[in-house]
């Protein structure tokens, strides 16, 4: 598959559950359809532009989209940095240290070697050098220009192109091989700051403030919706200045929302929101939990992403129903963890199949899925505190303060070895006034998930004592994990948090004060009146002038 196919969305990837054709008509409610992009006005709020280091996810997607899926990535990524609960925000503070640069350089050389090897290069280069053993500026220029445009998310400037062409001539003269010289050039593009950092360019708008340029808009849109670089169409529209035209911008956004690549964007956002990067260092005690394996962990992660994509995109479901839905997907080996038999057409342990949780089980929604339960646990036991904290911080945007210094744990320690259930242990925390303040906002919701152990296996008792999973979340009582899901579903803070998170993800920073008012007010209202449809919310953000407006307000 060549570059152009790739960039025109012919991935051969299909959304789960439903065919994609015709969905655009289903998911766009009339209310959303009526909205089109509006011109800048002086009242429109905005925020500063943040230079973001590419995340691992973005890097992988870009290489796949630009060079095709057969190019393997060799080497190791620097861990992404998380700030304000999001890697997308941490990327705005992430640096490239010497060891990180070494890794990027190694990765770049590996990619360039594959792209320009004997088997692949004809897919990528339409011209032929006059002499294979010498530099050919015309052919090199064509290659560097066309790939540089995707990698930098804009055409190379004249001075950039001149510098890379000179370097190409020098390199080729040393190695006496046109393709080896080009390899060095491509590796150079892939380790350039213009590639590794998302630098969105700005220009004056007509109100005396600034806004993103057309290429800046294209890049911000494509990373939000596709988690990758703009395709050819979008770059062409940017080149012609068409993205400033509300009608054309609307058409482009609707095209992007209807593309199967939207799934990549939605997956990336939820992976970030739920901190699935922590799967990389997830570790469980194999003596206590022999059923756990790397494959099971990967399946757990995938289960939740499939549930989300199926519910939000294929079914155009209500965001809040993610916390109550019984519809999911399982593999037989994941079924073993949950203690349910999963039958698949071919009977393979790693085969996915839709699965409906039977009524009556205390299990519903993504909080009771193995991904959440495993990630927010210790290697050898569950952790109501970690689970409660994750729910507060990641789903409700409520920051739990750090524990106080020099707390006296003597109350807890005095009887520490007598407690049989987590509830008994944690009750000791809440009887200590120094701990109680925070533990009271985390533990009761985490305790609702105590029927699931650290790898999410079901249990009715712990150390012989029955588990009491009842509790109360912000005024709503429940008796089990499914009830907790319903309480989250009905918590008005959940969609408010979601709007805030999605916007922070989109712009790479916390909202400014002005943006915050708009997000919590108008946009939150619209999300509600659209029936909490995530595709609709993405569309509203993408169409809003706020999204492109640049102010100098401090981060």
């Amino acid at each position: 598959m060549g570059l152009w196919d790739m960039l025109n969305g012919n991935h051969g990837k299909r959304l789960l559950g439903a065919a994609f054709i015709g969905l655009a008509a289903v998911f766009l409610t009339p209310a959303i359809k009526a909205q089109t992009a509006v011109a800048d006005t002086a009242q429109v709020v905005g925020g500063p532009v943040v230079m973001r280091r590419l995340t691992q996810h973005e890097y992988r997607n870009i290489i796949r989209d630009v060079f095709g899926p057969s190019i393997a990535l060799t080497g190791r990524f620097e861990p992404d940095t998380r700030a304000d609960e999001l890697i997308a925000v941490g990327a705005g503070e992430a640096t490239i240290t010497a060891s990180a640069f070494e890794n990027y350089d190694r990765m770049a050389k590996g990619i360039a070697a594959q792209v320009l090897d004997d088997d692949h290069r004809d897919q990528y280069i339409s011209c032929k050098p006059v002499d294979k053993r010498a530099a050919d500026q015309k052919c090199a220029r064509q290659f560097i220009e066309s790939f540089g445009r995707f990698l930098f998310r804009r055409p190379l400037k004249e001075n950039e192109l001149a510098a890379y062409l000179k370097a190409n001539a020098d390199a080729t003269a040393l190695v006496h091989d046109f393709y080896a010289g080009l390899r060095v050039s491509l590796a150079g593009l892939l380790s350039a700051p213009q590639f590794l950092y998302r630098q969105e360019q700005t220009e004056p708008d007509n109100s005396g403030a600034r806004r993103l340029t057309g290429y800046g808009m294209a890049s911000r849109l494509s990373f939000l919706l596709w988690n990758s670089v703009p395709d050819n169409q979008l770059l062409n529209a940017a080149a012609k200045g068409e993205l400033k035209d509300p009608q054309i911008l609307t058409r482009q956004i609707d095209r992007m929302l209807a593309s199967p690549r939207l799934e990549e964007g939605v997956r990336a956002f939820f992976e970030d929101m739920l901190a699935f990067d922590n799967f990389d260092s997830l570790d469980k005690d194999s003596e206590l939990y022999p059923a756990f394996s790397r494959d099971v962990a990967n399946d757990a992660r995938e289960q939740t992403l499939r549930t989300i994509v199926d519910h939000l995109l294929s079914r155009n479901g209500d965001y809040r129903d993610l916390f109550t839905t019984g519809k999911t997907f399982l593999t037989p080996r994941l079924g073993t963890i949950y203690g349910v038999a999963v039958e698949t057409p071919n009977g393979l342990v790693n085969e996915w199949t839709p699965y409906n949780i039977p009524a009556g089980r205390p299990q519903a929604g993504i909080l009771t899925q193995a991904s959440f339960l495993m990630l927010y646990s210790h290697p050898g036991r569950s952790s109501p505190t970690l689970r409660g904290k994750a729910l507060r911080e990641k789903i409700l945007c409520q920051r739990v303060p750090d524990p106080p210094a020099n707390v006296n744990f003597s109350l807890l320690e005095a009887r520490g070895n007598e407690y049989r259930t987590a509830r008994q242990r944690l009750d000791a925390h809440t009887s200590n006034p120094a701990c109680a303040g925070c533990h009271k906002i985390m533990d009761p919701i985490g305790l609702a998930l105590e029927n699931f152990d650290t790898i999410s296996g079901y249990r009715a008792a712990e150390n012989g004592a029955p588990i009491n999973a009842s509790g109360r979340l912000d005024g709503i009582n429940y008796t089990d994990a499914a009830g907790l899901g319903a309480a989250v579903h009905d918590n008005p803070q959940a969609p408010t948090c979601f709007v805030r998170r999605l916007y922070a993800y989109a712009v790479g920073r916390q909202a400014t004060q002005g943006e915050g008012k708009w997000l919590d007010g108008e946009l939150r209202e619209q999300f509600s009146s659209d029936g909490y449809r995530v595709r609709g919310l993405l569309r509203r953000i993408a169409l809003s002038p706020q999204f492109y407006r640049v102010t100098a307000e401090a981060r």
């Binding site: 950039e160 510098a163 390199a171 210790h378 050898g380």
Partner: protein
């Protein structure tokens, strides 16, 4: 086995003095060292090295420091695993981190303040460079790697090394990958017989220059914070250029350098024996990297600060025990916590022994090294940043004394960092910020 383990220096010198033709097994020995064994053949002195070794959750109060100040006789029970090495390090007790009105970030403030001199505010950015970065500016500029970072429990984020401006390094988690990074195809063997610069390596320089040329245009339109990050990028790019330059030159021979056997990864994770096995492998690779002068600075973290270490089959991790284990009414301390602390000290013993057993010139790698051993808390159960155990291991090429217990009496722990940096000739006469600022070194520890 490395060459220097097989061949004593005496044999090397004998061969040289006899003026005999060198055998196949000893191709370069006559040019390894000067007559006194303290300098390389090219006249450059054998380098001094610096490292940090980190473990989480501190020690139990009253169970680590010796009873008396001065030359150490008996160590506290939790230091039993390093008792036999006590002439090789100093212990600093009684120091503290001053919060200066800032909130305590548990399992973060203590170690970051010790290593950067400043109490961190906020989740990631820490504007001050850490000791290892300041030291590498002095001793690490000529080597292939400015520093090497590794960790032993599988989490690459375990690293407390910061460059100026807040750039945080990441750790290598896989010994096999660390091996490939140091001794892979880019490694130029200082004792290798053949040396031929690779034109492909030369070619890469041209494209790095092209990127550098665009620097001014790239930074023109961006804000101050982003500019600092781009500066870090270009510093890193120059470091790679420097690596390339080294690949294009024949390095001076180094007697102690040998290429270790390739390693395969053990089971990497938080089970305590697995973590210790990774520690041993990582430390061994670091020692070879030091001997081959690939780096002079390293940062090895056994675990993160909220240590996830665990004994196989036990449902509670070290961090869990630190907060939940009852004080044993008979012994008066947390028994399981104490076991974990001693396991960490087993890891430290391995780290010290690896350097102490690695012969170089007329001594060992440890003689010319200074390893700063630190942790995040004093009493972990309380998240205390008072009386955090600190150690310095090695003589730093003769600049440091060892075998001493030094009692701080409430002094800022930055005094130890300042002392270490002065021993390594970092031009600072005062270090630390706000309440942790100090201009007093620990004079007893300096020669």
């Amino acid at each position: 086995m490395k060459m220097s383990e097989k061949l004593s220096r005496r044999r090397v010198l004998r061969g040289t003095m006899a003026g005999a033709a060198v055998s196949v097994a000893l191709p370069f020995l006559d040019c390894f060292l000067n007559a006194s064994g303290t300098a390389r053949a090219d006249g450059a002195p054998l380098p001094v090295r610096f490292g940090t070794w980190f473990y989480g959750l501190g020690m139990n109060p009253g169970r680590w420091a010796p009873a008396e100040a001065g030359p150490m006789k008996a160590l506290g029970p939790e230091l039993a695993p390093i008792e036999h090495l006590k002439d090789k390090f100093n212990i600093y007790s009684g120091t503290q981190v001053f919060l200066g009105g800032k909130p305590l970030q548990v399992h973060r403030t203590g170690n970051i303040a010790q290593l950067t001199g400043a109490v961190p505010v906020g989740q990631i950015a820490n504007p001050h460079p850490s000791i290892d970065a300041l030291v590498s500016d002095v001793i690490g500029k000529t080597t292939r790697f400015r520093s090497l970072e590794a960790t032993c429990d599988g989490d690459a984020r375990n690293c407390f090394s910061y460059r100026a401006g807040g750039a945080q390094q990441a750790s290598e988690i896989s010994p096999a990958k660390l091996y490939a990074r140091i001794f892979g195809p880019e490694f130029v063997d200082p004792n290798g017989a053949d040396f031929k610069p690779d034109p492909a390596v030369m070619a890469q320089k041209s494209v790095l220059s092209a990127t550098k040329e665009q620097r001014d245009a790239i930074v023109r339109d961006i804000g101050v914070a982003d500019r600092a990050r781009l500066d870090e990028y270009f510093t890193s790019l120059r470091q790679l250029e420097h690596q390339i330059d080294l690949q294009l030159q024949k390095p001076p021979p180094l007697a102690a350098c040998a290429i270790p056997q390739a390693v395969t990864d053990p089971m990497i994770g938080t089970e305590v024996e697995a973590t210790l096995a990774t520690n041993a492998l990582m430390m061994r690779l670091i020692a070879y990297a030091l001997a081959c002068d690939q780096t002079r600075v390293f940062n090895l973290a056994l675990t993160n600060a909220t240590s996830r270490l665990r004994f196989a089959g036990d449902s509670t991790i070290y961090h869990g025990y630190s907060h939940e284990e009852a004080v044993d009414p008979v012994t008066g301390y947390q028994v399981k916590v104490s076991k974990f602390a001693m396991k960490c000290m087993e890891g430290l013993a391995t780290a010290i022994e690896t350097l102490a057993n690695f012969k170089e010139g007329d001594g060992t790698l440890l003689d010319r090294s200074l390893m700063f051993v630190c942790t995040d808390t004093g009493h972990a159960a309380l998240h205390s940043v008072v009386d955090i155990p600190i150690m310095t291991v090695g003589k730093a090429g003769g600049a440091m004394r060892t075998g001493l217990h030094i009692v701080g009496r409430g002094d800022p722990s930055t005094r130890v960092g300042l002392t270490a940096m002065q021993a390594l000739k970092v031009p600072l006469n005062s270090w630390g910020f706000e309440a942790n600022q100090t201009s007093k070194t620990v004079t007893e520890a300096l020669v």
